[in-house]
Symmetry: C2
Subunit: 447 residues, 2 copies
């Protein structure tokens, strides 16, 4: 079948996965290339970090997903560039010629020019970091258990989350809940119920993408769990022992803490700059590619970009970096390639079918904006659970996550509280962290 069109999909996240699925059984030869061998269900990654789920429960091997679709080949490799003249994808193992390509490499966390903060405030950007966050969190309690001084113990149990979007809210809620419900019985000296969780947001409210009333409901739910929500607060420095914040009046405050987490902003994957250089396509401030309405790059009708790395306006605002957007765009790009290469039809513009936005705070607490219907509390939480189970890839993962959620709900326990030191990152990045045993809040006037 040498004359079948060749399609390369770069990235096995939601965008790439749904693009590849749309090619199942279609007479094109698809190569799905990713630097990992699995699709990761990012919306539940925080539960891996919070010891509620195992890595394997939310990751599905890409080969497993497409094993019965012989026209879809999976390749483990990292793409460095796309040669748009020669029509080939360049990766660390060679080149892949293509007739059409879909770039879906998503986004990275944005430290806004402060990459030196990266090792101190980890972001939830993959399995490795999620497991490292879990290790740091649990290690902090282990240190507290061996710390004779009560004030120092309190200090070890202070956690700061930077960024009040859905991920920050989920992390803050989960830590507070674990501290209140799961850990107290485990320790004899440390008192996990005294844990301080501080959620820092630069804007004047958390969950800025949701309506005002839901944002307020989320704040109330977090506060009820014991989280200190600090809006209108900017981070100006992060070291391995503290976070320095600035409130609007210009006053700086130094919060000493044991573990900080970064959930403050994203930028498009590095491949967007490569695309800009090679095709001249415009990028927005976050590095996202300003695609044509059909998701292709202007003047490159078979070069598509989907998911978090795309800037496309919808109702006057750029589409958010959410899983449903990426899924729909992936499938759309795949259909357009079929129209163009197989059917000789013109492409159609992408239209986002917005089914709503939601965020979970904790047990029986979530907020959801479902096409204008605002829900909160238990019902919103049940919908959140159902939707996330439904979109998890593979029956096995669905079953395992369901069983564990049920288990966690009934027992309040989190089963995967394992401290596994995978070396390197923890040793290098946190070398000085063990010394950070004091976490008092010291108010400072600006110099």
């Amino acid at each position: 079948m040498a004359d079948r069109p060749k399609v390369v999909i770069v990235g096995g996240g939601f965008g790439g996965l749904y693009a590849a699925k749309a090619f199942q059984g279609i007479p094109v030869d698809v190569t799905l290339i990713d630097k990992e061998n699995y699709h990761l269900f990012m919306p539940l990654l925080y539960q891996v970090a919070m010891a509620g789920l195992s890595a394997g429960d939310i990751a599905a091997p890409l080969r497993e997903i497409f094993r019965q679709h012989k026209n879809i080949r999976t390749l483990l490799g990292e793409v460095s560039a796309i040669d748009v003249e020669q029509r080939q994808v360049i990766y660390n193992g060679g080149v892949l010629p293509y007739d059409a390509v879909i770039v879906a490499t998503g986004s990275d966390y944005n430290y806004f020019g402060h990459d030196q903060w990266r090792p101190y405030a980890l972001s939830l950007d993959g399995l490795r970091n999620a497991l490292e966050i879990r290790r740091r969190l649990l290690s902090a309690y282990e240190q507290a258990e061996q710390e004779p001084d009560a004030e120092q113990r309190q200090a070890l149990m202070t956690f700061i989350i930077i960024g009040g979007g859905p991920t920050g809210v989920e992390l803050a809620g989960a830590i507070a809940e674990m501290a209140r419900h799961t850990l107290p019985e485990d320790f004899r000296v440390a008192l996990p119920s005294q844990t301080r969780v501080i959620l820092i947001e630069a804007a004047d409210r958390i969950l800025g993408a949701l309506p005002l009333d839901l944002s307020e409901k989320a704040r109330q739910a977090l506060t009820k769990l014991g989280v200190t929500v600090r809006t209108g607060t900017k981070v100006v420095e992060i070291t391995n022992t503290c976070v320095v914040v600035e409130v609007p009046a210009g006053v700086q405050e130094r919060i000493r803490c044991q573990v900080a987490m970064w959930a403050a902003g994203v930028k498009a994957s590095a491949l967007s700059h490569m695309l800009h250089e090679r095709t001249g396509v415009a990028l927005d401030r976050a590095g996202r590619v300003q695609v044509a309405p059909d998701l292709s790059i202007p003047h490159y009708p078979t070069l598509f970009v989907v998911g978090d790395m795309v800037h496309l306006e919808h109702a006057g605002r750029p589409l958010p970096g959410l899983a449903p957007v990426a899924m729909q765009q992936g499938a759309h790009a795949a259909r357009q390639i079929q129209r163009r290469l197989l059917e000789g039809q013109p492409t159609e513009p992408f239209r986002y079918a917005d089914r709503g936005t939601m965020a979970t705070i904790g047990r029986a607490a979530a907020v959801a904006d479902l096409r204008g219907r605002h829900l909160s509390g238990f019902l919103a939480w049940l919908i959140w659970l159902f939707v996330h189970l439904m979109y998890l890839v593979g029956f096995r993962n669905r079953l395992l996550v369901f069983v564990q959620w049920l288990w966690n709900y009934v027992t309040y326990r989190r089963g995967v509280r394992l401290i596994v030191d995978h070396g390197q990152q923890s040793r290098e990045g946190r070398a000085g962290q063990a010394a950070a045993t004091s976490a008092s809040v010291v108010r400072q006037d600006p110099p």
Copy 2:
């Protein structure tokens, strides 16, 4: 309760765990110290390495196990010595005074003076190595999928297991089974069914601890799965690209391979040498402590040693390093401490209740010697499954393992085929490994 006796248990494996359980509700203050925060169910560790289970499914947080027993405190720390004069346990966070102590730090894999082989032939000695073995194995197939040369592909799919005890047999069987049943559909270029699995054993038969007929049954089952069983074969060299073996006639043979695993022998944990230096107790050749019949160290009536690091004769042979031995010894030592410290009674000698020995080869294939009754095949396998589920710690783990076994049995799939590079070990130890793409067998005469 300042006058309650203080007991320190060093190690949270089977021996330490069952010792601690025996103190539940007893008026002594127990500190269980381990360098990990979890109890690991070692008999199923090979299934984590073989991508059938997640780490969290076979590990239970020690704090979780004892959370409701307020007289048992868990401590994360590494013990370096026991000061038998001052009666205190010395660990990396300080000292623990004791009235009685149980040392249960188990065994390490023994490379018989060739520690330079350690990074090339990993042993299954903990979660970290198990996950690294999984990564190496799956990465080999990913490399094979991208290798254009058929002979090289075959080379990448050659795996050598050194040591024909239960662990080696389980690993060999599981790799062969995965290669035959799980992986073929996943790949388009590599042919996992061509995988070569070579099990090397120095003695004249595998499973030397089992009766001759079961050993032969196991060899037949392995051969049927496609494993090459080479008994009477000694390993004389391991590098990052090959294993050199010597057959009895003195002929050396160089087998190039992608991944080697070590399951060839054990020695007592390093603490046994410390005990020898401090108490003068005799050690056997494997460094195991020659305890008194009650499991105490001669002349130190409240210093007990249990589990894999103990040398104790039973029916003329030293007791094997098996989980049931460690469990029974842990409970026995705990009871003796109670007799001595609480009841003022003399101690009793340990008697091993031998319920049998078994090993599994794969799906519906196992061998079991149950007090002289020799079983093999499906029935032995069912008993193996049942016994292992029963001894898994915690209902959650039991449920998750059961669900996944059922899933694996029905679908032939292994869900956790994730390549997660945790850095360091893989980068350092295997730097040259990527180059090891040829695996031909070259016969060489000795020089």
